[in-house]
Amino acid sequence: MSGAGAVARAVAERLAAADVARLNATLAWSEAALAAEAARVDALPDDGVLHQWPVAIKDNIVTTDLPTTCGSRILQGYRSPFNATVVERLRAAGAMVACKTNLDEFAMGSSTEHSAFGRVLHPQDPSRVPGGSSGGSAALVAAGAVAAALGSETGGSVRQPASFCGVVGVKPTYGRVSRYGLVAFGSSLDCVSVFARTVAIAGQLLEVIAGPDSRDATSVAAPKLALQPPGASLAGTTIGIPREYFPADLDPGIQAACNRAMDRMRDLGARLIEVSLPHTSLAVPAYYIVAPAEAAANLARFDGARYGVRAESSGDVRALYRATRGRGFGAEVRRRILVGTYVLSAGYHEAYYGRAQAARRRITGDFSAAFAAGVDLLFTPTTPTTAFRAGEKTADPVAMYLADVFVCPASLAGLPAMSFPIGRSEGLPIGGQLIAPPFAEGVMLAAAARLEAALDPVAEAR
């Protein structure tokens, strides 16, 4: 009797059901690959933290057994010769790679409408988006196909879809988890992050993938990620409420859910204080300079010369580049490459990139000041709206970018942050965000677990 085999067959059935429902959340999986994973896991000792757990992997994290496309035509069929460090760590802990999940092309987007392989549907309402860019992973966890999934964040690409889909999404401190094998978008921002149905599962997954890696020079040898049992109360915890995250025009349903969550925090003994993070409004503009600048360089390697799809072209090597990159990349990726190239160009470098870096330092300084003043955690809504309708923002890139207004700042500051369900508005999930000081994931997860337990009946009642 193969324990893992039975799990693998069950996962295959659920993935098939998700595909039948046309969620379009998976890009690659097979019963054969799952069976191979089950056989591998059965040969391992059964004491792995994630023994027999099926985990979905965002398709910008490289795997040897399934293709890695980044949701782009330019990498269609690409098979990596190595596994990402996070995949190696999951597998060593007994987890099975369940599938690769759909995403905005190269993780650039907030709705998973920008995949070359079609948009991902919101599991509850097919007319809506699941958020992005890790929409496929979020949708699969929300649909119950897998208990946990890996996503990636550059500017909120896990927290925002977690919020839209009603699941838990955790971004670690920058450097806490190795980026080796995560296809780079904005290297100074990119973090492998996790989705799960519960805070506890998300914490376990994060604990497995965290830790320094000699193959990533930006990974940090910080104190080990220590999960803490959720306490009986939040007594002694000071939670900062940054006023910039509660604008007057915030969606009333979201404001109400946040108010309820804050009431529970007080009930649990937490001290809530209003704080100010005055440079918050600089985050989206700074992000949309820094991330595209890094992306323009990171995506230069996709030129058709060595791997991936090469467009037929006559003429010199420049014509080959133009044809391959012009046809291989979608509109949003091309837009960001152009923006990134522009902001680094001679004569504009200081005006754009230089000022964006200065803004980034100020945003980081805001957080540092709040934490230095005695705040343990910050609480905010994760998103200004619930899941929006497909097509609603595709014609207006700036409106799309503003969907990340509450998640971008922590990304720019490299801080751990998470979204967890705090209620619903008109049936659609609402996420609350906790932001913690560097490497304080343990404190953040414990508080979230305590709140999760206190809020769950409320969320269910609505």
């Binding site: 890695t68 990402a84 080796y180 990533d216 930006t218 230069a300 390697r301 030129d303």
Partner: protein
């Protein structure tokens, strides 16, 4: 009109590490194409660079040898451009915060004597791959074995005043980097590459003229040729009252001419920015000092010590100090008891495989004490490359000098008897024939006769005759 030539050089040297700058691949030369590669140096999706501490160490060593200030914090940056030999679409280099700056290197100029040349900066970077145009007919192939090889770029100030000085600078640079164990500086294998910047100005002016840059310089001799050609071209332009345009030129070794690159090839905006994959390169003062301790005695110090310590001429000291291994060998021969001037002559003049230092010292001693003639010693020398006793070799070859009077007398008498006409001319006053007779005796004795004893005996017997 009298013009002054102003030259500065940018030199790329390969740091002599076994593995590449940002991955563990071999830097070996001459392997089949695309065999020394991995996800990192191929720029595969998801791969990340990790700095090679050995390359950083060699970079610091080079910087210290060139008397640069090593920065405690330097930054790797991305230099963005598209080219098929550049797998990531950017080169990891250093830009506004290089590893080191503000050094100097002294050169010997035939026009100006000892001249200090300033080293503006030294930075670390990775090499690109290589395009192969002759492997597949009608197509270009890419070999990425070299991609990611660690390089130091060393930029001189505009302190050189002639193409000959530029060549002298390159010789001095190569010498010091080889001494420091930083680089082999082998131009054929691409471990040293040079770009030249040159401008002209009226003698006595301090402002620099418009410069041009020359690329594709594949030997020190061609650096000098190309700079001379470009100096002549600029001088002709200025003499006609025209101006020099700031362009990049390619040297064509066949014709000896420099010609502008197509403008497309040079119109780059590299859009440098700090590489987010690589944290700042931090070097504690103690680390820098420890690397400084690794530096051996450098060429200039070695030259003066050989000259003063062993009483050698400046020329001999310079020749011996040209290669660290040569100087080390010379000193070992002296340490084994050889007289320094004789040791210097042997080490400088003899070519081919050298004997162990102690053996050469013994050989020199045998000449000094008259056991062997210099001529005989030179015949024995090649026999000693693998070691062994010079005395045994001399005996085996029958080259020990014969000082026995009877034996010498027999050779002398035979030679005089065999050349009655020359003997008569000698006796008639043609004394320079002594050299002829001496040679004949040495020949007769197959080199064994001690010429210092042969000559008095010859003189006596010829006069007696």
């Amino acid at each position: 009109m009298s013009w002054e030539t102003v030259i500065g050089l940018e030199v790329h040297v390969q740091l002599d590490t076994r593995s590449k700058m940002f991955c563990g691949c071999s830097t070996g030369f001459g392997n089949p194409p695309n065999t020394n590669v991995c996800p990192v140096c191929l720029g595969l999706p998801g791969a990340l660079p990790v700095p090679n501490a050995g390359a950083v160490r060699l970079g610091v060593r080079a910087a210290l040898a060139l008397e640069c200030t090593v920065q405690p914090r330097s930054i790797f940056a991305r230099k963005n451009y598209f080219y098929p030999d550049l797998p990531k679409g950017y080169q990891i280099s250093q830009y506004d915060r290089p590893l080191a700056s503000g050094g100097r290197l002294e050169i010997e100029s035939s026009d100006r004597g000892t001249v200090p040349v300033s080293i503006v900066r030294l930075h670390l970077e990775e090499d690109a791959g290589k395009l192969l145009h002759d492997r597949i007919p009608g197509k270009t192939a890419i070999d990425l074995n070299r991609a990611g090889t660690p390089l130091a770029e060393i930029v001189s100030g505009p302190d050189l005043r002639s193409p000959a000085e530029a060549r002298e600078y390159l010789n001095a640079l190569k010498q010091i980097l080889r001494y420091a164990g930083v680089s082999e500086c082998n131009m054929e294998q691409g471990s040293l590459r040079v770009d030249g910047n040159i401008s002209l100005r009226r003698k006595g002016e301090s402002a620099l003229g418009t410069r041009t840059e020359i690329k594709n310089l594949n030997s020190f001799a061609n650096v000098e040729r190309a700079l001379s050609a470009e100096r002549d071209r600029q001088e002709a332009l200025l003499a006609r009252g025209e101006t020099v345009e700031q362009v990049t030129l390619l040297f064509h070794p066949g014709s000896g001419q420099v010609r502008p690159m197509r403008s497309k090839e040079e119109s780059h905006d590299y859009r440098y920015f700090d590489d987010p994959d690589l944290p700042p390169l931090l070097l504690a003062p103690a680390t820098i000092a420890a690397i400084g301790e690794e530096l051996p005695e450098l060429p200039a110090a070695k030259r003066s010590r050989l000259r003063d310590g062993y009483g050698l001429s400046a020329y001999d000291a310079g020749v011996l100090a040209a290669e660290r291994s040569t100087a080390d060998y010379f000193e070992a021969v002296c340490a084994a008891g050889a007289e320094p001037k004789a040791a210097a002559n042997w080490v400088i003049n003899e070519t081919g495989a050298v004997p162990p230092a102690g053996v050469l010292a013994e050989l020199i001693g045998l000449v000094e004490d008259g056991t062997l003639s210099h001529q005989a010693a030179r015949r024995i020398y090649p026999e000693l490359a693998g070691g062994g006793s010079p005395r045994d070799a001399a005996e085996r070859l029958g080259l020990l000098q014969v000082r026995d009077t009877d034996a010498l007398a027999a050779w002398v008498d035979a030679v005089i008897a065999g050349h009655p006409a020359e003997a008569a001319r000698y006796r008639a006053g043609e004394l320079k024939l002594m050299a002829f007779f001496t040679g004949q005796v040495m020949k007769q004795s197959r080199g064994q006769a001690d010429p210092r004893r042969v000559q008095p005996m010859l003189a006596r017997r010829l006069e007696d005759g």
